[in-house]
Amino acid sequence: MSTAEGAVTRDTTSWLSLAAWRRLLRDQPVIPLVILLAVMVALLIAIQPGILNRPQAWVLATLRFATPLALLAACQTLTMLTGGIDLSVAVVASMSAYVMATQSVSQGDAIAIALAILVAGLVGLLNGVGVGIFRVQPLIMTLGTGLVALGAVNVYQKTVLTAGSTVPQPIQTLGSGNTLGFIPNALLVLVPVALVVMIGLKRTGYGRMLYAVGDNPIAARLAGVRVWQVLLVLYVLSGLLAGIAGITLAGITKTATLNVADSYLLPSVAAAVIGGTSIFGGRGGYAGTILGALILTVLASLLTVLDAPEPIRQIVYGAIILGVAAAYARLTGER
């Protein structure tokens, strides 16, 4: 009896103690993110109660605009797990969207989409060769390939300028249509990708290798992991994901320009960081990243609703990213 009571008291004190909270947050980084997201949504509703009249429309728009960001942030999450980063994602996404839109005129939709994914994978392969085999810093390698891809797609633009471009109808439906009035079709892309990434990271050998390489590359190599192969495949995957994101984005905007995804580059890094993935590698996951993408999207609409001028919007945006990252570092005691 007394032992049971003792256990209960100890339990409550430890439940209240900071260390227990830290452990909880470290194990379940999504909990504070869900709370933050809920607070922001509540704030949004408080400022503009009109949202509640047609909640489906608001949910629809938010999910739709968060999808390309979440997809691009997947590239950052995966590469950051190994201590890397992929700064070529925005260019790759724009490029694949543009290739798809221009090729679909003459080649038909299916081939155009396949070509778009192919070129995205090729840029990823180039990144993978540089980072995996030549051991170039991922930051500078992906920066360079981004430049190469940007120039290449500009050259390509000159050759297809007269042909015109059109985003294939199925892709437009995928990007802009919805099912049952509140499920955007874009989720048909995001949900499978999210499931594959999350299950892949948790349950497959390859996923665990990503964590191992990021945590300690030398230990991983000594344990028999072929680090260069892991990295090569990783950057190809990142390129492919960026291609898929670009195609989805083209479906949402219904046009494909050469800089359609440019503004997503820094937010994609921010979404992964807010989601609790360490930029030094070895810690993080995709669930947090998706929440990070949602938080950034809700933040953007919050700032729009507040009618904040652009400068204030940027400052608040930066401050929130820093604030969340700092709070996270404080709470978990990790970097």
Binding site: G130, F134, G144, V148, G151, V155, K158, P311, R335
Partner: protein
């Protein structure tokens, strides 16, 4: 007979041994300058009329990239990275342009001083946030890049303001003789005045120490936090110099950040500064910035499609860092 006490006749061999060692240590920078000279000769051969005026234009084009790279170099050597260099340059540039719009020639002097002080403050804030937040440098400066870009838009919402005419003529034309553009002199003076005293100081040594091994530096009594904040502060000063140069160059302030963050990082990596920290020079990035700009100009002379030249630049950047990485791998695993 040891190397420490050489006979009189051995002085030459000793000196040449020292020279060899210096060459080996600075092989990357030396080869950069050789490449720059070759590229310059190639440019002159390519365009026989290439004269002092063309060189002035080149220097004028490069001055802002060099200052961005210099700001980045100080931070990277101390083991950080500053993704907010471009926005900080835009912010300081619009501040300078907006303040100078209503002043006379003499009034521009305190404006420049104030903007440089502002740069110190901006850099210090970046550094303090890195220190306090416990968040990786790259994330903090990424977030701050939004903040400084927003601040620039607060000062001027569209390109505007003015620059004092004497400031503009300060980097226009050549000094005394041809082939010595004023912009080059101003640039080297600005960087030299900051870098040379720093390099020789205790703080400079601490920066290299912190950059190469933070824990080892801490254990040998270096105040790591103060060193890192100081590095960001000096980086902010150099970025503010870049911002002032931007206003001097264009005569206005543009609130939209140029490509300076990434261009600066490209010049820095090509210049042989290790992104891992602790290793690098200031001469390397300067040469690298000139090389990248000359390649761009040569491609124009060769009538290469500008889009193709973007590809070529990207390929050169990637190829050079790959070769550099291979050399590094060889050095590690002999």
């Amino acid at each position: 007979m040891t190397a420490a006490a050489p006979a009189a006749g051995d002085v030459r061999t000793v000196r040449s041994a020292g020279m060899t060692r210096w060459l080996r240590r600075n092989s990357w920078v030396v080869s950069l300058y050789v490449a720059l000279a070759a590229l310059f000769a190639f440019t002159v051969a390519l365009k026989p009329g290439y004269g002092p005026t063309d060189f002035e234009f080149l220097t004028l084009a490069v001055i802002t990239i060099v200052l961005a790279a210099a700001a980045q170099t100080v931070v990277v050597i101390s083991g950080g990275i500053d993704l907010s260099v471009g926005p900080v340059m835009a912010f300081t540039s619009v501040c300078a342009a907006a303040l100078m719009a209503g002043t006379d020639d003499l009034g521009a002097v305190p404006v420049v001083a104030a903007v440089l002080a502002l740069g110190l403050g901006v850099g210090a804030l970046n550094g303090l946030l890195v220190h306090w937040s416990g968040v990786p440098d790259i994330v903090v400066t990424l977030a701050m890049s939004f903040v400084w870009a927003g601040a620039a838009l607060l000062v001027l919402d569209s390109p505007g303001g003015a620059s004092a005419p004497w400031l503009m003529s300060l980097i226009d034309g050549s000094l005394l003789i041809d082939w010595v553009p004023r912009a080059l002199v101003v640039m080297l003076l600005a960087i030299g005045l900051v870098w040379i005293p720093l390099r020789r100081s205790r703080l400079g040594l601490s920066m290299f120490a912190v950059g190469s091994d933070q824990l080892a530096a801490l254990r040998s009594g270096v105040d790591v936090a103060r060193t890192k904040v100081a590095a960001y502060t000096i980086g902010g000063l150099l970025a503010a110099m870049g911002g002032v140069a931007l206003t001097m160059k264009t005569g206005i302030g543009n609130p939209l950040p140029g490509p300076y963050t990434l261009d600066g990082i490209a010049a820095l990596v090509l210049g042989g500064v290790s992104l891992a920290g602790g290793r690098g020079t200031m001469a390397g990035p300067i040469a690298a910035a000139f090389i990248l700009a000359l390649i761009r100009i040569d491609l124009v002379f060769l009538k290469v499609n500008p889009d193709v030249s973007t590809v070529v630049q990207g390929v050169i950047l990637v190829a050079v860092v790959m070769v550099g990485a291979l050399v590094e791998l060889r050095r590690k695993r002999p």
